[in-house]
């Protein structure tokens, strides 16, 4: 259950980061941490009985790849936003408080 708790903590960190961070790149990273947390919870629940269940593992593997694809799109959008929002500035509404 150590892994499951780690996953939960990662998920909570990621969720807080997604809400708190204003910069798109950081937000995407926080969202990724959230996703990693969910994957860790799923994998750890799959081996609760001591022996790993291959079905959730395969599902998580699929999920990781889809998450990478979604991250790629998110980064491309963030980059586009950055370019449209203004050139020169590092980002619109960076979190500096």
């Amino acid at each position: 259950m150590l892994f499951a708790v780690t996953g939960v903590v990662l998920f909570a960190f990621g969720a807080a980061g997604t809400i708190l961070l204003a910069e798109p790149l950081r937000r995407v990273l926080a969202f990724n941490i959230m996703g990693s947390g969910a994957c860790v919870v799923l994998v750890s629940l799959a081996q609760r009985n001591g022996i790993a269940d291959p079905v959730p593992q395969a599902m998580v593997l699929t999920g990781i790849v889809v998450a990478v694809a979604a991250t790629g799109v998110a980064l491309a959008l963030a980059r586009r936003l950055h370019r449209l929002a203004g050139d020169g500035e590092s980002s619109a509404g960076a979190d500096h408080d």
Partner: protein
């Protein structure tokens, strides 16, 4: 002051949420459905001996088929967001001599590892996704070392490579409709078909993942 309060509130909320979630995880009852016996019983007919590969490519092959389609759509989405007037930033003045040299040594080794992973997927942890990710990493490394340029727009050869995995998978899935169900491999050919699908998937995944990086990288010309 407001921002600090908001930050504190969100952090407290996240902590409470984590506590509740962890608590409910510990209170979770034993799973009603156990798929492990089902997998191990049918493993002999799946064509591979590693259970995760069997689930990915055989028992739940439909998920993997849709997954490669999602990857393709994601790459198309990335291509759609790139600005039309992009000029790949070409600068050959690599300040660092170590990185290109190291990349030249590492890239062939990564290719070798990827081929091994693809082959090993049938009987131990490995498979198309790991091999594809490794190949994509090799391409990204070569690009960062300025040994290969960023991709500006996909030429016919690259296009066919990008869609090969999806099309081969779809063709095999469709051809197997004659067997009764989509993606129901005849046990005699299952291993061969899975290897064919995985090889095509490796090529496409490597190009798509590298494309996510190299196409976005080509859009940096007007920046700075």
């Amino acid at each position: 002051m407001m921002a600090t309060l908001r930050r504190l509130g969100v952090m407290l909320g996240a902590a409470a949420f984590a506590w509740l979630l962890a608590d409910s995880l510990f209170a979770l009852p034993a799973p009603v459905i156990d798929l492990r016996p089902l997998v191990s019983e049918n493993l002999a007919r799946s064509g591979v001996t590693h259970p995760v590969t069997a689930v990915l490519l055989n028992f739940r092959g439909f998920d993997t088929l849709l997954e490669i389609a999602v990857m393709l759509v994601a790459l198309l989405g990335v291509l759609a967001t790139l600005s039309a007037d992009r000029t790949p930033a070409v600068d050959h003045d690599s300040a660092d001599a170590m990185l290109p040299m190291f990349s030249r040594v590492a890239a062939p080794l990564m290719l070798l590892c990827a081929l091994y992973l693809l082959w090993a997927g049938a009987f131990r942890p490995g498979g198309a996704f790991q091999a594809g990710a490794l190949l994509a990493a090799a391409l990204a490394l070569l690009h960062l070392a300025r040994l290969i340029p960023a991709w500006s727009s996909p030429l016919p050869l690259l296009r066919s490579g990008l869609v090969a995995g999806f099309l081969v998978f779809l063709a095999i899935a469709t051809a197997l409709l004659t067997e009764g169900t989509m993606l129901q491999y005849p046990p005699a050919y299952a291993g061969l078909l899975i290897l064919a699908i995985e090889s095509a998937l490796t090529v496409s995944l490597a190009l798509i993942l590298a494309g996510l990086f190299l196409f976005i990288s080509s859009d940096g010309g007007a920046q700075k």
